[in-house]
Every structure is written in C-alpha cells, then in structure tokens.
C-alpha cells in the first residue's frame, strides 16, 4: 500500500505544535461535541429531580468537548505522535462494497432511483469484487473465483441450512422456473450453477497466469 513509513519518523519541521495527532484528535472531539449540542438544542434539560431528555447528552457533549480542548492544549506542551499517512483507496473501496451490498440486497429506492431487490446472488459477488479492489494487489480473476465459490456457500448456509430471512435471488428470476419448483430448489440450482461457473473460470484461465493461481504458496511467506 502507498501508506508509507514516513509517518513513523519524527516530523522534520519544528513549529509550536508538538503533537499534530493530538490537535487533529482534539478538533474531531470538539466537532463531535458541537454536533451533539446542536442536535439537542431544542430538547428540554429538566432538573436533577426530573431529568429531561437533553440533560445527559448535553453534559456528555460538554465533557467530550473539554477533553478535545485539553488534547489540543497538551499538543502545544508535550511532544506526541505525528499524524499518520492516510490511504484513501482502502476505505473508499471497502465502503463502496458495503454500500453496494446494502442497496442491492433488497429493493431500495432513493428519490427517483429505484433498485430492485437482487438478493445475495448479486449483492455477495458485488461486495467481494468491489471490496477486493481496496488493495492494489487485487486480481480480477482471483476475486471472480472467490465470489463465484463463496456466494453459493453463503446461499446454502444462510438460506437453506439456517433458514435466515435473507433474500437470496431476484424475485423476477423465480418466474423463469416452473411454477411447482420451491424457493429452495431454485436456490440450490443457482448455487450449483455458480459453483460450476467458478470451476469453469478456474480451469479455463489457468494456463494464462500460472504464477498467480497458487493461493497457498508453500514458501511460508506471502
């Protein structure tokens, strides 16, 4: 990852700020406190005898804010950690993957945009493949195989064995099958299809990049 090792050293310039991480953390806390105070502005605080809904949140927010101020103050007095380098790629793709899962797992509408519920069948592979790109070592082929083999596993585990109420496949697909097929039969068939697809991808693209396939390399170092 591009997240470098520079962050671990002592930063070069010497300003009045001796602990940049403390400043950043302090600002974060103060912002949080301000948000909480703003959100509870209309609520009644009540008295100690009959506490209102805002009493505790307000005092806690004040406490958080004071901690933030103290952190900032200490940042000028005591030496502390420098800020670490951030990488955006990781969080970006991880969040993207989770959001993709959330909006496709069941019908979702936001304003004029409507996404039909697609179930684990679509949401699962989407999460795996999008999420996989969070590292720059991502290889599409490996992720595809992973997605095609893990998804049927989850379908059978959660939908069939554990009977959890999680949508497995798009409802529209059910009409493609004979009417007397049960949900579970359709699900099992789809799982089987995915497994076959995974095997097909695995074997057909095998020769092209021999070195990339070895998932568990035996040198012990990865």
């Amino acid at each position: 990852m591009p997240a470098s090792h520079e962050g671990s050293g002592v930063s070069g310039h010497r300003g009045p700020v001796r602990a940049p991480q403390g400043i950043a953390g302090g600002i974060l806390l103060i912002a949080l406190a301000a948000l909480a105070l703003w959100l509870t502005r209309d609520l009644d605080q009540g008295t100690l005898n009959a506490m209102g809904p805002a009493m505790l949140p307000r005092w806690l927010a004040i406490g958080v804010g004071l901690s933030g101020l103290a952190l900032i103050a200490f940042a000028f007095i005591r030496d502390g950690e420098p800020l670490e380098r951030w990488s955006l790629r990781g969080p970006f793709f991880v969040i993207l993957a989770i959001l993709a899962f959330a909006v496709t797992i069941r019908p979702f509408s936001l304003g004029s945009l409507t996404i039909p519920g697609l179930g684990v069948l679509v949401a699962g592979p989407l999460a795996i493949i999008l999420g996989g790109y969070a590292t720059n070592e991502a290889r599409f082929r490996d992720l595809l195989i992973l997605a095609l083999s893990l998804t049927p596993f989850c379908m059978v585990l959660f939908g069939d064995l554990l009977n959890l109420p999680i949508p497995i496949f798009p409802q529209a697909m059910a009409s493609l099958f004979p009417a007397d097929w049960s949900q579970k039969a359709i699900m099992r068939l789809m799982a089987a299809v995915l497994v076959v697809a995974a095997l097909v991808v695995f074997f057909t693209t095998r020769g092209s990049r021999k070195t990339a396939i070895d998932v568990a390399d035996h040198s012990g170092r990865i």
């Binding site: 009959a50 958080v64 901690s67 490996d142 959890l164």
Partner: protein, 500 residues
C-alpha cells in the same frame, strides 16, 4: 456445597444432551475457524456469527454462542503463535514467546500448552462461576439504582486505567461511547434525541452494528494500510503434546495464570484484558533467568494463555449475576439474550435455572471441545493462515454484510457498519483506542436509566451517591484508581506493562 453439586448436575444434565453437545461443538468449530483469520478478533467473530444462533432455543443458542466465544478466543491465540499477528489485545502476550517457540520448531508444543492450560483454566473458572454465582446474585438483589450506577462508574474507571496509551484519550472515548448510547428515544419522555429525524435511529444504535463497524470493518481498513508481511512459520509444527520437562516448566505458571485471570476477570470494566499482561510480568519476575522471555519461554505461553481463558470465562460473572456486561463480548451476549427474550440479571438464575446452570456447565464442555477440536486440526488452521489477505478480506467483508443484515433485515444496518468502520478507522488514525468507547456505549443506557432512577428516589440530590455506604465505597475505589493511574511513577509502570 451440596447446593453447588446439585446445581452443577442440573447444568450438566442440560449441557450433555446430544443437541447441546453438538451445538457447543459447532460453536467452537466455527468460532475457531473465523477467529483464526488474522485481523478478526472475538468481537467481530461473534457479531458476524450471531445470526446463525437465531434458529435454536435460548439455551442452545447461548451454549453455541459461548462456544463461538471460546473458539474465537482460542483461534486468536493460534494466529498469535503461528503468524505473530495477535487477533486482539489479550493474545498480544501469547505472540511474544509463542511465536518464538514456533520459530524454533516447537509450534506444536506452544499450541498444546496453550490448549491444555486453557482447559485447566476453564475448568477452574467454571467452578468459580458455579460457586460465586449464587452468593453474588444474592448481593445483586441488595443493589439499588444508586449502587448500580456507582458500580458502572467503577467499571468505566477500570476501563480507562486499563486502556493503552493516553488516559485523556481513553476518557474522551468513554464519554463519546456514553454519548452515542443516548441516541434514540428518551426512555421517559419518548422524545427523539439526536436521531436526525431518521426513523431507524429512534431505537438507538444497534450494538452489533457499532461493534461490527469498529472491530470488523475499521480493522480491515487499518490492515490494508500496512503492506502485508505475514510470517507464517515455515518450520514444522512438531509434536503437539508437551513432554515431561515442558509440563514441569509449564504447570506452575498455568496455575498462577489461572488464579490471576480468574480474579481480574470478575472485575467490571474488562479486567480480563489485564490478566495475560499481569501473568506474563509475574512469570518474568519469578523466573530464574528472565532473559529467556521473548525467546520462546514456555512459561510465557502457559501463564498468559491460562490467565486469558480464566478471565474470558469469569467475565461472565458480572453479566450473569448483576446483569452488567463487563466488556464488548459480553454486551453481544446481552444482545443475543434479549433477542431470545431473556433479560440478563440476577433474576435469570431463579427464573431460568436450566439456562443458567446449563450455560455454566457448557462452558466446561466447550473447553473440552476446544482441546479435542484444535489439536488435531492445527494443520487445517495453518493452511487457512496461508491464504493471502487480499483474498481473505473481501470474504470477511461479505460475511460481515450478510451477518449484520440477517440480524434485523435492515439495509440501513449494513450502511451503518460502513459509517462506523470509517469512524473507527479515523479514531485509530488519531491515536484513540476504540475499546473504551464500546464499553461506554454498552454501559451508557444502563447508567442513564439507573442515574435517573437514583435521582428520582433521592429527589434530585446528588449526595445520595456518597450517602449510601456501598455506593460511596465503589466511588471511592474509582477515585483512588484514577488518581493512582495519573501519578507519574505509576503511569510509567503501566506503560511498561503494556509495551512489554
């Protein structure tokens, strides 16, 4: 004494039914399977696997969950020994000497000693829980809201003192945690607090969602920041069972570790975390040649691992007797219990003796399972550890999504794990530890409830907290602890314990 025996035999008659044995076995197996994955600690494991217990009766579900917990805990130690990546704070110590042993070709012995030590500790801890359960429950019935509030304050102070790094940051995190717990409908007036007008927030933030975001997703983001350097042992695992010499060296540390761990585990505020550290420090002090530590000393595995397991188990005591979850894992247990319609607290033992004693007996069964499952399966765990992270984390990500979705069937829950993941990542980048925040969140609701009740009873006078003797005592202990932790000399010592 005869009470204890009859209670235990009731427990075993519940735990030893075929279904419950099977559930304990399954729980341990799946828990280890997920817990072994590097970067997945017990909290994320349990949050992920919570839904698979929904289909069973409450007793079975809790037995399975407890199994998952021990499995995850033990899986973390396996990873620590074989890869030098501690899954969570408590296995940090195991990694020190355990991994060195593995490098010397003694991975098998390290794993074996860890398993046997854990089993011994588990057996003792089970007896401790069974013995203390009834009297502590009686004590709990004497507690009013005032005492409960003070007890929880003490728990939070413990968490501050035990957190690594800056005390100020730990305090801030606890406050943020309690603040987060106040989101949602106000208990008495029914007014919405800090919900942004969003309907799904009116019930408050779901604990599983918060825990999964902070310990599952944020952890993935953080791991992605570091170029992967996984040091899976290349040496052979070697024999698993310790020989006579190993045993001679290991049994005393294991006994001492068990005692330390069991005592610390009872404390509210995640005392269990301290167990392995304390045991390691003690063994190092007692050793004739302290230089061996850090270079593969078997005592450095046996002691902390026993302490770890003993603490993991006795931390059930505050939950089962007082209804106060002492750490995040126990908070997830509360979540699981409430889903099955059981409100944890002193009344569980009287109203549901089957569940209470069955669960306690199943702890011992679970520990036995671990011993049976893990030793023969070590080869499989090694294989699993060799899967590169670039393939592991997308899988973990999907399991997290499916797991959290199945709890409430809400896509918004899934979105929130992304949000909390980002929050957790940001906090870690700014040097905050998320664990105290989670504890603050866990205790927050209970604290507010009890604070309000206490103040209503005392007609708004805060003096009630120091007028009532038990409450005053608890608060005094908290104050003393906090002051001690802030003393410069002690702080140095505390930092040393954690950096070792």
């Amino acid at each position: 004494m005869s009470d204890l025996l009859s209670n235990l035999s009731l427990g075993f008659s519940v735990a030893l039914t075929l279904q419950n044995i099977l559930l304990a076995f399954l729980g341990c197996l799946v828990g280890t399977l997920i817990g072994v994955l590097p970067g997945v600690g017990p909290i994320a494991t349990i949050a992920m696997l919570l839904p698979i217990t929904f289909g069973f009766d409450p007793t079975g579900a809790l037995i399975m969950l407890a199994g998952i917990y021990y499995g995850a805990q033990y899986g973390g130690s396996t990873t620590a020994i074989l890869v030098n990546i501690p899954g969570e704070a408590t296995s940090v110590v195991t990694a020190l000497d355990g991994h060195q042993m593995a490098r010397q070709g003694r991975a098998g012995v390290a794993l074996g000693v860890a398993a046997i030590g854990s089993f011994f500790a588990g057996t003792v801890a089970t007896l401790v829980i069974a013995a203390l359960g009834a009297p502590l429950t009686g004590l709990a019935l004497l507690f009013g809201p005032t005492e409960y509030f003070s007890l929880m304050v003490m728990g939070l102070v413990f968490a501050v003192v035990l957190a690594r790094g800056s005390i100020l940051k730990a305090i801030a995190m606890i406050l943020v945690g309690v603040l987060l717990s106040t989101v949602g409908l106000d208990l008495e007036t029914g007014e919405e607090r800090m919900t942004f007008g969003l309907p799904f927030l009116s019930d408050g933030i779901d604990f599983a969602v918060l825990a999964m975001g902070i310990f599952g997703i944020a952890e993935i983001m953080r791991n992605l920041d570091h170029t992967e350097h996984r040091d899976v042992v290349r040496q052979s695992i070697g024999r698993l069972l310790p020989n006579k010499d190993d045993f001679k060296q290991a049994y005393k540390p294991a006994i001492r570790g068990t005692i330390i761990g069991a005592i610390l585990g009872i404390l509210p505020g995640n005392g269990a975390v301290l167990g392995p550290f304390a045991s390691y420090t003690l063994e190092k002090k007692l050793a004739k040649d302290p230089r061996r530590f850090g270079r593969g000393a078997i005592e450095g595995v046996a002691g902390p691992e026993s302490a770890n397991n003993a603490g993991a188990q006795t931390s059930f005591i505050p939950l089962l007797t007082l209804g106060i979850p002492p750490n995040a894992v126990m908070a997830l247990m509360v979540g699981a219990m409430t889903i099955h319609g059981i409100i944890p607290g002193p009344q569980v033992m009287t109203k549901n003796p089957n569940l209470f004693w069955g669960m306690i007996a199943s702890m011992w069964v679970g520990n036995l399972m671990l011993l049976i499952i893990n030793l023969p399966l070590v080869g499989m765990w090694v294989r699993l550890l060799k899967v590169p992270y670039r393939l592991l984390f997308p899988a973990i990500l999907m399991f997290c999504c499916i797991g959290i979705y199945s709890i409430n069937s809400l896509p918004t829950d899934v979105m929130f794990i992304a949000l909390f993941g980002l929050v957790g990542y940001t906090l870690m980048k700014f040097g905050f530890e998320p664990a105290p925040m989670l504890l603050g969140f866990v205790l927050g609701k209970l604290m507010e409830e009890n604070l309000r009740r206490a103040l209503i009873i005392s007609r708004g006078s805060l003096e009630t907290f120091i007028e009532r003797p038990v409450s005053a005592g608890l608060l005094a202990v908290s104050a003393i602890l906090l002051v001690i932790a802030l003393l410069p000399s002690i702080r140095k010592g505390r930092d040393e314990v954690f950096t070792e």
